[in-house]
Amino acid sequence: MVEVYVNGVKVEVPPNSLVIEAAERAGFRIPTLCYLQGLFNEATCRVCVVKVNGRVVPACRFPAAEGSEIVTEDDELRRLRRINLELLLSTHRIECWGCVRKGRCELLSLAKEMGVEGIPVCAECPLYGPSCLLNKGLLCLGALTIAGCNAECVRKGSPCIGCRGYVKSAEVWRDALDNHYRKYGIDVGELTSLIKLFWNYLPSELRKFLEVGSR
């Protein structure tokens, strides 16, 4: 057996075990998207990064050597995991209503858990097409607001007023304007006035975007 230390907890694992297995045995959860025990450990998602003796390595690929000191959670690791997740999301179209999982997937729940910005409330909202509140004449900020509330108000039939703040991604803004606000004929002036009311100001980057969009 090999002795390793996970976050200071001593644990014994069989030789050739992986860091992720050692952490599991010690009772620590490491977030991961691509790892499947015994089936897949190609370290493609890189969400499971941990520190082994101070080096940042993927936990699903790196072996647990005798005396290794493993850290599964600190500020740097959280930042790195978030960056890796944002990179994954940058090529992923978030249309949960059209997805077979209907928003109940590990990617979305991990993104929420890590506070990844880039997913709007619309991604979680079950109303679309004719049921979309924008289509019913209600000005809803869901397309611009950070997801994570499970579209609570919108599900109840009242428009999103943006409690969770605005998504900073230009991709999302473009998508919001093209596929939501302009599609349903919402006046940009109305939209900015609502943003100013509930967010107290119109963020400068968003202002430029809306001005360009309205031309």
């Binding site: 609570e152 108000c153 109840k156 009242s158 009311l197």
Partner: protein, 425 residues
């Protein structure tokens, strides 16, 4: 000590100060709000009518249902829209639950410690936290969210509330009334100071909150002098005044100092023969008739008794709607503007919302009068009477008067953030 100033006198929210000056046997009291203006009446100007309830419900976290409902009523009146009985009853139920919740918080954590009721609170603390949790759950089921409800618009409910929510909220509140009874007994056993009300004038909305308010106005107002019909003339009846040094207005009923709230409501209920009450509760309430009539401190007892009455009342209402399917509605924009007034009984007393809506269905003017504005003057005259009674022969008062005056203000349960206005001199 001849004069004193108490800052941050209330314990609910916001800041107000009580300034008492005793000069040559003459006592003068000022009760001033020192919170900076929040401009909600200005914020809603230019907004579409549908957005207004969402904005104004954020005036206050503890009374968000009251503001939400009052603004819905006012907008419906302005647009000439009426709602069905189910909608009216369920909105009313939400408001009642919030009244009970407000009363319990006020009694346990804000008022009782003033009367040496610390033990009662200590004994019931665990249960009180649970009561609060249960009421929160019920509110969340019926109103969509705990604070700032989101399940109804002007016109009726959105798709978000179903008959099963009524069932569930009844289930969570089951057995609460009996347990609450014990706490109410404990509240009624604390001793309150003696004080003769200098201005026993009150105003309540006829048959509210014990019976459901019908659609919109005109409203019948019961006062100690008789009934009044109120609608667009409300400004002639509730006369607001601006005072130097206070960021909130102070209001008179015609030209008289008056009070609103639980004491006024129960007094009016008794005057009407306790219409909704049965047996024991009616007898129990009638024993407080004299006290409610004469002593402003008795608002604490009134809150305790009212929470029992309203809780039973709300359970009865919900029983009637058990299993019924609620239809969602959506108003189209072919409506015409107008102006409307919404008056309801909020936890602390009468709440008035008034909106003028133009032909584009945008609000052009808004006016909100809150209960704290209404009883501010009554706090002043009652404190004057209290201090005058306790002034010694040498024209000074001792320090115990300070805490009594503080307790008196808190017996009214003033909540300042609702009350502030932009004051132009």
């Amino acid at each position: 000590m001849s004069s004193f100033r108490i800052s941050a006198v209330e314990r609910v929210a916001g800041e107000s100060e009580l300034i008492v000056s005793v000069e040559g046997g003459d006592v003068r009291v000022e009760y001033n709000s020192v919170v900076s203006p929040r401009s909600f009446e200005a914020l809603v100007k230019g907004r579409k009518y549908k957005e207004v309830p969402y904005i104004v419900s954020r005036i206050c976290g503890v009374c968000s249902h009251a503001h939400f409902w009052a603004s819905n009523l006012a907008i419906e009146s302005a647009l000439g829209v009426s709602v069905d009985d189910t909608t009216a009853a369920l909105r009313d139920a939400c408001n009642k639950i919030q009244i009970v919740q407000n009363h319990l918080i006020h009694l346990a954590f804000l008022a009782l410690p003033d009367y040496g009721g610390g033990n009662a609170v200590k004994n019931y603390l665990g249960r009180l936290i649970r009561f609060n949790k249960v009421l929160n759950e019920a509110l969340q089921l019926l109103g969509g969210r705990l604070t700032n409800p989101n399940v109804y618009f002007p016109g009726g409910f959105t798709a978000g509330v179903r008959g099963s929510h009524v069932e569930k909220s009844l289930a969570v509140m089951k057995g609460l009334a009996d347990e609450l009874g014990e706490f109410v007994d404990a509240v009624l056993s604390v001793e309150i100071p003696d004080l003769r009300d200098p201005s026993p004038e009150y105003a309540v909305l006829h048959n509210s909150p014990f019976e459901t308010v019908p659609n919109g106005g005109p409203y019948v107002l019961d006062t100690s002098g008789g009934s009044l019909t109120v609608y667009e003339n409300y400004r002639n009846i509730f006369r607001e005044q601006i005072h130097d040094g206070s960021t909130s207005k102070k209001c008179l009923l015609l030209d008289r100092v008056f009070y609103v709230g639980a004491r006024a409501r129960l007094l009016n209920l008794l005057r009407r023969g306790g219409v909704i009450l049965e047996g024991d509760l009616k007898y129990r309430l009638s024993r407080y008739w004299d006290l409610f009539n004469t002593n402003p401190f008795s608002n604490v007892y009134a809150k305790a008794l009212e929470s029992i009455i309203l809780l039973k009342n709300v359970m009865d209402i919900l029983e009637g709607y058990r299993g019924k399917e609620l239809k969602s509605v959506a108003l189209d924009d072919s409506l015409k503007g107008g102006h409307g007034v919404g008056i309801i009984e909020a936890p602390r007393g009468l709440l008035i919302h008034h909106y003028v809506i133009d032909e584009n269905l945008r609000v052009v003017n808004a006016d909100i009068i809150t209960p704290t504005v209404m009883f501010s003057r009554h706090i002043e005259v009652a404190t004057e009477t209290l201090v005058r009674k306790l002034v010694g022969n040498n024209g000074t008062v001792d320090s115990s008067v300070e805490s009594l005056a503080e307790a008196l203000v808190r017996a009214y349960d003033p909540c300042i953030p609702c009350a502030v206005h932009v004051i132009r001199g």
